[in-house]
């Protein structure tokens, strides 16, 4: 494989130094890639695509009328994170999730952080993710965010930054696990040679933290899905399948005396723990969105009475609001009296007058994001935006400043990616998964998303992104 034309100067490249020399933890992989012909690599890529199709590793695209099922392109070149880098990520994430969980417990109960004026009250209460019905609530074992998928990016100096906290229903973990299964077959010897940490026991760990939420010896656990038309249905069924638990839909459940039961061929069966993959507000039409057809009327009351455990707890979305994000370093300091191990990307809140003025003045240099949007929707990248887009966002920000934040445009790191007949640098992000049960665990791996278009910074699968297997080295 020919690599001399590879450009590693413009951005932080994870395989190559700026002078073109290979970083030590990538050298064995590079040697192996060099030993393969272009045809061989293309053939491996082809079998990878075929395997994904056969496995039905598909996702559904919203706003796309033709063919609802697509595969998420999996690039065969893995992304490697060395042990030292990983250790920092791991401790940093544990710290962050621990603090965010304390924040959630506090903000729905004593609200000390608001009384101490660390966070403006209005900002918290105006979060769409702040759910008033959760006030006074302590979920089982005091855990709110059982499963988190945090997005990180690397800047031009190679430093990792937290980009987004996803505390509601973060998806992608099934791709991480299935991608590993495929890449294992593509490069069978490399993983053990390099000492790559295994990820395959994720379902087991997930089941442990779910069972931990019930006091019963053998609780009945289920995964709650909106159904086969949801874009993450593959993942929902994958997780239920690999944990050996029921995959349920709202229509499968009824409430009896404030307990939740499944309708089975043998009558009713009580359900104790639900890993719900339905948004908070769709969970219970009695309490939240009355239009919801995918939820279970009455389930929130049962949850509040302690008759069923829900992971993640409803209401946890307030902690991943993009406006609250700006305050997370302060939140960590407030609850733990520690400095954040992993830095935030500097964030300007458009609701703040001074920040807003700065944002409107420097719009063409900034990335603007809607505070409650996900999936790469509702954002604008200043340096790439047209004059028309800049105008639209100026208007939008002025109309509803609370809805927007802005951040400097980061130059994301790149990893070599197979494009046609050569390896080219493509921008990536990193989404590790964190499980909060008896203790907090970070799964040693991640869902790496890659922007397949040259120069593009948008990695979201719904916007033409692909993925890479992520290898975390044990030493």
């Amino acid at each position: 494989m020919f690599v001399s034309s590879y450009d590693s100067k413009t951005h932080y490249d994870e395989m190559f130094e700026a002078d073109g020399s290979c970083r030590p933890h990538y050298s064995e992989l590079l040697d192996m890639l060099k030993s393969l012909s272009v045809e061989k690599l293309q053939q491996l890529q082809f079998t990878t695509d075929k395997a994904q199709m056969a496995m039905g590793m598909t996702f559904n695209v919203y706003h796309d009328k033709q063919g609802i099922e697509k595969i998420l392109h999996l690039d065969i070149v893995p992304r490697i994170i060395n042990a030292a880098e990983w250790e920092k990520i791991e401790t940093g994430l544990k710290q962050r999730i621990y603090a965010l969980n304390l924040f959630l417990q506090d903000v729905y109960n004593e609200q000390k952080i608001l009384k101490d004026k660390i966070l403006p009250k209005e900002l918290v209460f105006s979060c769409p993710g702040y759910l008033k019905p959760c006030e006074g609530l302590t979920p089982p074992k005091g855990i709110w965010c059982h499963i988190t998928g945090t997005d990180l990016v690397r800047d031009k100096n190679g430093e990792f930054y937290i980009l987004e906290d996803n505390l509601r229903c973060p998806s992608g973990v099934s791709y991480q696990l299935e991608s590993r299964e495929i890449i294992k077959r593509v490069f069978p010897n490399m993983l053990s040679k390099l000492g790559v940490a295994p990820v395959s026991n994720y379902p087991n760990r997930l089941l442990n933290i779910l069972e931990y939420l019930s006091d019963k010896e053998k609780p009945v656990v289920g995964v709650l899905t909106p159904g086969i038309y949801n874009s993450a249905y593959f993942e929902h069924s994958y997780l239920a399948h690999s944990m050996g638990v029921e995959l349920v839909m709202g229509q499968d459940m009824v409430m009896v005396k404030n307990h939740v039961f499944m309708l089975t061929t043998n009558g009713l069966k009580q359900i104790d723990v639900l890993y719900r993959r339905i948004d908070d507000t769709f969970l219970d039409p009695d309490v939240f969105n009355p239009e919801s057809l995918i939820g279970v009327p009455g389930i929130f009351k049962a949850f509040k009475s302690g008759n069923i455990s829900l992971a993640n707890a409803p209401g946890s979305g307030v902690a991943d609001d993009k406006a609250i994000y700006a305050y997370v370093p302060k939140i960590i300091k407030y609850y733990l009296d520690e400095d954040p191990i992993l830095p935030n990307v500097p964030t300007y809140l458009c609701s703040d007058e001074k920040d807003r003025a700065y944002v409107l003045d420097h719009l063409q240099d900034l990335v603007v994001k809607e505070t409650n949007a996900a999936g790469g929707y509702g954002m604008m990248i200043g340096p790439r935006a047209s004059g028309k887009e800049l105008k639209t966002f100026t208007r939008l920000i002025k109309e509803n400043p609370r809805n927007y934040i802005a951040q400097p445009t980061l130059s994301l790191s790149t990893v070599p990616t197979l494009v046609d007949s050569q390896l080219e640098p493509r921008h990536v992000d990193l989404r590790p998964y964190i499980l909060y049960g008896e203790e907090i665990e970070v799964i040693p791996g991640a869902f790496t998303r890659v922007a397949l278009k040259r120069g593009s910074l948008i990695v979201n699968s719904s916007q033409g992104g692909g993925s890479k297997d992520t290898w975390v080295l044990q030493h």
Binding site: V223, L247, F261, L263, T265, N266, L268
Partner: protein, 326 residues
């Protein structure tokens, strides 16, 4: 097992079996064509009539030529029973219950779906590849049965899918047999002629029953063919064999042992099964073969309806049951 899941598993069994049988329907004619004398025309209309979708066909198409008929039976998405509709439905049902399928089963079914879809898009069946295509579909489905046979636990799910499969097969065997009723002979004199025998042979081959027939009965003779396909105790595609096994599945699901019945599905299925158990081929023929088969199909449909009521209908009366744990 969740009622919704049981429902999907049951239909997964039915749709897979239906897919296989639609390939077999088409096979009747392929088998015939290989042997037909040069001056005799292919007949596609009988196949369409036997599937029960004659009205749907004639509302869309005028002629019963080979290409249109194959398209309708195999690739027409507007035909809810066509091969592609059945495979798609099987896969949709499998997707809904993917968490309980083995990885291999799901992947092979998914590949089968992609294969049929690809066949429809590329229209390989219009050329010489048709026989090969439908044979591959049949093998693809049998591979699925093979995988399931030694990897699926014999619990409720297994029995629901087999219940669906056996009821579907009973229905389709009766319809394949009915094809013969609709095939026209050039004249009444031809009954018992070599051409007549050719038709019967093609029919047997399409249900993989030709060799078994030879072993059991020897010479080709309509009476015995009817006996093999309707009443035989040992042939796995005979209506009687299918109903007997469907009944075993049903009783295992509801845990009914010994005599009698514990729900309306068991009652209607048991009644039909015993009716066949005590009939001989004269009883079948004397009431008119076509009428007899028609009656069978209606009864099988009704049995399916009672299964739906007994096990799948998300019944609000559930909540009034007494066995709810507090």
């Amino acid at each position: 097992m969740l009622s919704r899941v049981a429902n999907s598993v049951y239909w997964l069994g039915r749709y897979l079996e239906r897919s296989e049988n639609y390939s077999r329907f088409i096979d009747v004619n392929f088998n015939l064509m290989l042997d037909l004398p040069p001056n005799v025309k292919e007949q596609w209309e009988p196949l369409i009539r036997a599937t029960g979708d004659y009205d749907l066909y004639t509302s869309h198409y005028e002629s019963f030529d080979r290409e249109t008929a194959i398209y309708f039976l195999a690739f027409d998405k507007h035909n809810p029973n066509s091969l592609i509709s059945s495979v798609t439905n099987a896969r949709e049902n499998a997707r809904m219950v993917r968490e309980i399928l083995t990885k291999e089963s799901w992947e092979k079914l998914n590949e089968l779906y992609l294969f049929v879809k690809d066949g429809a898009d590329k229209e390989t069946w219009k050329s010489e590849g048709a026989v090969r295509f439908f044979t591959d579909v049949k093998y693809g489905i049998q591979l699925l049965y093979g995988i399931a046979d030694n990897s699926v636990a014999r619990t409720e799910g297994w029995y629901f899918s087999h219940l669906g499969q056996y009821l579907e097969r009973a229905d389709k065997t009766s319809r394949i047999l009915d094809v013969k009723y609709h095939i026209l002979l050039p004249s009444a004199d031809e009954v018992g002629s070599p051409l007549d025998f050719l038709h019967w042979t093609a029919l047997l081959k399409s249900v993989s029953g030709f060799n078994i027939y030879r072993r059991f009965y020897g010479k080709i003779d309509p009476f015995h063919i009817v006996e093999l396909l309707v009443l035989n105790k040992y042939f796995p595609r005979s209506v009687f064999f299918c109903l007997t096994n469907a009944e075993i599945c049903l009783r295992t699901i509801s845990g009914t042992s010994g005599k009698g019945y514990s729900n309306s599905s068991e009652k209607s299925l048991g009644a039909l099964q015993s009716q066949l158990e005590y009939q001989d081929v004269n009883d079948v023929i004397s009431s008119g073969l076509h009428e007899y088969l028609d009656g069978l199909q209606i009864k099988i449909n009704k049995i399916s309806d009672t299964i739906h009521d007994n096990f799948f209908k998300l019944n609000s009366t559930f909540t009034n049951q007494k066995n709810i744990q507090e």
